[in-house]
């Protein structure tokens, strides 16, 4: 499903070479739940950006749904992001001037889906995520948990293959964080591969597979039996 082979990512900072990722080999199956853990600077965000095609590896291969996606041009990569990848961010990244429903609609607008279909899909999703009475609220009128649920709705509205979440509970209190996490975990039933980057060992422990990173290397890749 997803396969990284000998992936390296090197940044040039000033006149110094920084290896953010060193020789990463990974493969994820459909519906897998993976948490990526490690201290800051260990390369977990870079890994997530690479998986989300927001960044290109310096060397190595990346196969998504059986096809290599590194050689694709900007237009084609954007299409892959649109159709196969969903993002959930720590700081939600909702467009402040758009309502909750419009934020959820955004990926479908970019994909050129007709307005009627968009409306229908948004409605179903808002209903499912308990946001039915919040459709016309602007992000600043929503609580943190509601905002993240809108963001998850937006990330899943295109039925992606993989959902990438970067510290999805980082800006939320504990109770709300658990709720959001449950929502994310529920997505696996739809066959979505879930990759969560987190600091929190307690959150990491919930996943079947835990990857620990340090200095751009994978130091452990454990599967727990749930």
């Amino acid at each position: 499903m997803i396969k990284l082979q000998n992936v390296c990512r090197t940044f040039i900072v000033g006149d110094q070479k920084v290896d953010a990722l060193r020789d990463i080999n990974l493969s994820f199956g459909a519906g897998e739940y993976i948490s990526v853990m490690g201290p800051s600077g260990s390369g977990k965000s870079t890994l997530l950006n690479l998986l989300g095609l927001l960044d290109r590896p310096s060397s190595g291969f990346y196969l998504l749904d059986g096809g290599s996606v590194i050689e694709l041009d900007d237009e084609q990569q954007a299409r892959v992001r649109r159709e196969k990848i969903g993002f959930v961010f720590q700081s939600f990244h909702l467009v402040p001037r758009l309502t909750a429903a419009q934020n959820v609609e955004l990926p479908m607008i970019l994909a050129g889906i007709p307005a009627e279909e968009r409306k229908a899909r948004v409605q179903v999703l808002m209903q499912n995520y308990g946001l039915a009475d919040r459709t016309d609220h602007k992000p600043d009128q929503l609580s943190g948990g509601q905002r993240q649920r809108v963001a998850i709705a937006r990330a899943t509205v295109m039925n992606p293959t993989v959902l990438l979440a970067d510290e999805p509970t980082g800006n939320l209190d504990r109770a709300t964080g658990w709720e959001v996490l449950k929502l994310l975990e529920g997505l696996r039933e739809r066959g979505i591969t879930l990759v969560v980057v987190t600091h929190d060992a307690e959150i990491g422990a919930r996943s079947q597979r835990q990857i620990h990173m340090l200095d751009g290397r994978i130091v452990s890749d454990e599967r727990s039996k749930v």
């Binding site: 467009v95 955004l106 994909a111």
Partner: protein, 402 residues
């Protein structure tokens, strides 16, 4: 992404910062309005002059003494030198041309007109009966100069409306005697009030037979001969034949100038059109300034919306789409700005038209078109750079707000 969605998204982000959007539209619309109003003024001035020339008469060829080499107005016309005069017989001879319908010789002088105890200085025009037709004048009372031989020195005069009023007030003027210089003239008619025409107020004129004027001023030459051609097509022929006739009568010496009204008109037309375009061009500079303003604000917008751009990229918008969104914003901005500017400009022109009713103020179509095109053009042109900058943003850095 569909076009309609692109436009909706762009207008949404414009509405997102209403003050900035309104200010940019204001700048754009002031630029467009300036072009519209200024060219409307220039065009108004041009049409005013053209109208004045047309009211001078139609199909006119003007014969003046002296020779100038230019097609338009020579210095001779402006200072009125008379190297060799044109006599009444010369004027009469022009009628031999088949292209000439009628002529009106003109002699001009100043004299004191008096009636009872009232007197004032007036411009006296010596001419013939045909002047009425040639110059498109109309009578208010009585009749114009009697037709007859050019050399008849009848003591009759026709007064301008203002002169009549000043000398006679509400009393009957036609049939009364007035004194002009050292001669007495009987008033046979009063001109209808026409206002000003080419700097000559017919309201303050006194017209007497040309031969009488020659006696009064003790001259024998003519100031001008107005020649009316039979039709528009025969103007050239009339000009040529009038020249030939006069050269022949002056022993082949080319000492008269024959100009056509069209040539003078064309000169004025060219000058004033150039002026209008120059003024419009100056106004268009403000449009370029508005364009720079739009670029500046768009760059700020890109900087402020870095996270949003990053998000759009993460959600699957290719660079081209981001460019299109910013383009759409610029086009909407300058489009709505120009429409507002056109409305403002037309309103301004209408107000000026109300204030100066004699000036036919109306913006020329080419200026309206050029202003709108320039506004849209600068809007799009100056958004290229901001749009490219937005499209090139690195999504990872953009999402982090860097």
């Amino acid at each position: 992404m569909k076009l309609i969605d692109t436009l909706q998204f762009a207008s949404g982000s414009l509405r997102g910062s209403p003050t900035r959007t309104l200010l940019m539209m204001l700048a754009m619309s002031i630029g467009v309005a300036a072009v519209v109003v200024l060219t409307a003024l220039g065009e108004g001035a041009r049409r005013y002059v053209v109208n004045q020339f047309s009211s001078l008469g139609t199909n006119l060829v003007i014969v003046l003494p002296g020779r100038t080499e230019t097609a338009g107005i020579g210095p001779g016309l402006l200072v009125g030198q008379i190297p060799r005069e044109i006599s009444l017989d010369d004027a009469q001879a022009i009628l031999r041309s088949t292209a000439v319908k009628r002529i009106a010789p003109l002699t001009v002088g100043a004299a004191t007109i008096s009636h009872d105890a009232l007197n004032r200085e007036v411009v006296v025009l010596g001419s013939t009966a045909d002047l009425l037709e040639v110059r498109h004048m109309a009578m208010a009372l009585g009749r114009f100069l009697p037709a007859g031989d050019l050399h008849d020195t009848t003591s009759v005069c026709v007064l301008g409306e203002k002169i009549r009023h000043e000398l006679f007030g509400n009393a009957r003027a036609v049939g009364q005697w007035v004194r002009l210089g050292d001669r007495r003239f009987r008033v046979i008619g009063v001109l209808a009030s026409q206002g000003e025409s080419m700097g000559m107020r017919t309201d303050e004129l006194v017209i007497i037979p040309v031969a009488s004027a020659h006696q009064l001023f003790n001259t024998s030459g003519l100031f001008r001969v107005l020649v009316e051609a039979r039709s528009r097509d025969s103007i050239g022929q009339a000009q040529h034949e009038a020249e030939q006739i006069l050269f022949a009568r002056h022993n082949g010496e080319k000492d008269v100038t024959v100009i056509t009204q069209d040539a003078v008109l064309a000169t004025f037309d060219r000058i004033l059109t150039a002026l209008t375009m120059a003024v419009g061009g100056i106004a268009a500079i403000s449009l370029a300034v508005a364009g720079v303003l739009i670029m500046n604000v768009m760059l700020i917008a890109v900087a402020q919306r870095v996270k949003e751009i990053g998000l759009l990229k993460a959600l699957g918008a290719p660079a081209g789409q981001i460019r299109k969104l910013f383009f759409a914003e610029a086009v909407l901005l300058s489009g709505i700005g120009s429409v507002a500017g056109l409305a403002l400009g037309y309103a301004g022109s209408a107000i000026i038209g109300q204030m100066y009713p004699s000036l036919p103020v109306s913006p020329p179509w080419w200026a309206v078109l050029a202003a709108t095109a320039t506004a849209l053009g600068t809007g799009v042109l100056f958004s290229v750079w901001p749009a490219r900058r937005a499209a090139r943003l690195d999504p990872v850095a953009a999402l982090a707000g860097r």
